[in-house]
């Protein structure tokens, strides 16, 4: 069971603003999904290694050679706000 306080805590971690209604819905729906998911708690998995990659591969390394990157104007082309050739954002100061 995920209660309202937990929903609000997770929403803060996830940088999501939720309406009051959404907090209630989320609490109900996440609890239902987790009830189902928690069945994996019944499995004996102590000596089982966790999957890190499904296909056996070794580290993919490449030479560290500089190549041209995206030109600045292209990188900024989709920006909601551009300030001094950079991405503009509101002040991080406390509101």
């Amino acid at each position: 069971m995920i209660d309202r306080a937990q929903v609000l805590h997770v929403a803060r971690l996830a940088r999501l603003e939720l309406t009051d209604d959404e907090v209630g819905t989320m609490s109900r729906e996440l609890s239902a999904v987790l009830d189902h998911i928690e069945k994996i708690g019944e499995l004996q998995l102590d000596d089982v290694p966790a999957t890190s990659h499904v296909i056996d591969v070794v580290n993919a390394l490449r030479p560290d050679e500089p190549v041209p990157s995206l030109p600045r104007e292209q990188a900024l082309a989709n920006a909601p706000e551009v300030v001094d050739d950079g991405f503009g954002v509101p002040s991080p100061g406390a509101a």
Binding site: R15, L16, V54, I55, V57, V89, P90
Partner: protein, 480 residues
């Protein structure tokens, strides 16, 4: 004339262009007109496209280097296409035009395909009905009151309805195979890593896999052949050990098919089970042996998936913060700008999965949830490995039901998640699986899934081809 062009398979169209019997421009115009006519109807049409090309692009001349010259291609919205909207079905990316192409989009352009349009999808590929798109639901060409499946619903509907000869999709837990099944076409989820993920807007990186949709197995193989390859820009991409061949074969002599009891039980509709059993009988007539087998951990696959995929999604979707592209909400301070942008930009299913994933990764829960799920994943992969000691392929229905009504499953997330019950185990194991149409139930298409070991695509396509020829499924009436 236009109807004749639409009736051609992609392979035949490429052949005819090469021999100068039809022109690439004519072919493109015929498809463009149909795609644009549907797009103009918005949600009164199939709503398969979110963008359709308005001019005919110039195709390279047909040659050995560009064997697909002039065959139009529909591309799922989440693939980045330079200068063309790539919104992953989300309001948070509304209007986003990437400055580069996904590697697979570039590769297919080099092979000669032309970009016909971008197809509608569930937001960030999260969904099994294509009702989670910020650009409206997609409808099933077999019955407009029903869903096409998802998340690649636009691609599947476009191919089934003859609004594209073939299309690109992605499959994380079933997002190619399930819509292919519900729309009566062929869809392949390849071996994990065989196609570059560079430029695919990420959902769950350890599962996301690009693959082809086509009307038949031959076109599926032909498109996939030009998608594979290691890419320096995706360190998880792998060189496929084989060149992908066009499928062949006349029988299934010596082929051992395993039917996992865990994936054909309750939840599978009677009409779907009937079509499945008929296809098994047909496979036996063609020389295959069919035996029941077990994937003991498969019943836990859905649980593992709904921890791993949302956990990875919550991390991948952290980048959508209103700073560099897409939507930005008004706010006086930075934190409020983030939280409001994400509140306004993401739809309910995406929020639900971000919350679930963030919870599963949060302090104190990581080992119990994400860690455990990755162990279950190991067991599922082992189940398949040991099954493939005794069988060439594992076969199941592609989806437990036929296409359901719009709105029928939106109220209960868990019921929607169960749509992918038969497809998720293969995704977790990273192995290839194909869905081919194997008949109708109450007038709606049913899909047959064949899964093989990693990199077995050539054998898988051959077996699918033999079955396809024997089944003789005809989807042409919905292309009229």
């Amino acid at each position: 004339m236009s109807a004749d062009l639409i009736a051609l398979s992609a392979r035949d169209a490429a052949e005819q262009i090469r021999h100068g019997r039809i022109s690439a421009d004519e072919l493109f115009a015929a498809y463009r007109e149909r795609a644009a006519a549907d797009a103009a109807k918005g949600e009164d049409g199939l709503n398969a496209y979110t963008w359709v090309a308005d001019v005919t692009p110039s195709a390279p001349a047909a040659s050995d280097a560009a064997p697909l010259a002039g065959v139009p291609l529909a591309v799922k919205d989440l693939f980045c296409t330079e200068g063309v909207p790539s919104q992953s079905g989300s309001k948070i990316l509304a209007g986003y035009r990437p400055p580069y192409n996904a590697t697979v989009v570039d590769k297919l352009a080099s092979a000669g395909t032309t970009l016909l349009g971008k197809t509608n999808q569930d937001e960030f590929a999260m969904g099994s009905s294509n009702e989670n798109s910020a650009f409206g639901a997609v409808r099933n060409p077999w019955d407009a009151s029903r869903v096409p499946g998802g998340s690649s619903g636009g691609s599947a509907a476009a191919v089934a309805a003859g609004l594209a000869p073939w299309a690109l999709g992605t499959d994380t837990g079933g997002s190619i195979r399930q819509p292919a099944a519900l729309c009566g076409i062929v869809g392949l989820k390849p071996t994990y890593g065989s196609v570059s993920r560079y430029g695919m807007i990420a959902f769950a990186s350890s599962l996301d896999q690009a693959g082809p949709f086509a009307r038949d197995v031959t076109d599926t193989a032909l498109l996939y052949r030009h998608m594979v390859g290691r890419d320096g820009r995706d360190s998880t991409s792998l060189q496929h050990p084989d060149e992908i061949a066009l499928p062949k074969g006349v029988d299934l002599k010596g082929i051992r098919l395993g039917v996992p009891e865990e994936l054909i039980g309750e939840g599978v509709e009677s009409g779907v089970r009937e079509a499945f059993n008929q296809t098994l009988a047909l496979a036996e007539q063609l020389g295959a042996t069919v035996e029941t087998t077990h994937l003991p951990h498969a019943p836990h696959a859905l649980s593992a998936y709904y921890l791993i995929a949302p956990a990875e999604a919550s991390s991948n979707l952290a980048r959508f913060d209103g700073v560099r592209y897409g939507l930005r909400a008004d706010a006086d301070d930075l934190l409020s700008m983030y939280t409001r942008t994400r509140a306004e930009g993401f739809g309910p299913e995406v929020k639900r999965r971000i919350m679930l994933g963030t919870y599963a990764l949060s302090s104190g829960y990581y080992d119990a949830y994400y860690g455990r799920a990755q162990k279950v994943r190991t067991k599922i992969a082992e189940d398949f490995r040991s099954a493939f000691d005794s069988f060439d392929f594992i076969v199941t229905p592609s989806a437990p039901t036929v296409a359901f009504k719009l709105g029928e499953k939106t109220a209960d997330p868990l019921e929607m998640y169960l749509q992918d019950f038969c497809t998720i185990p293969m995704s977790l194991a990273g192995i290839p699986a194909i869905s081919i149409p194997n008949g109708l139930s109450d007038g709606l298409p049913v899909g047959f899934q064949i899964a093989g070991p990693a990199f077995s695509e050539n054998r898988l396509l051959d077996a699918a081809y033999v079955l396809e020829q024997a089944l003789g499924f005809d989807g042409s009436k919905v292309r009229a």
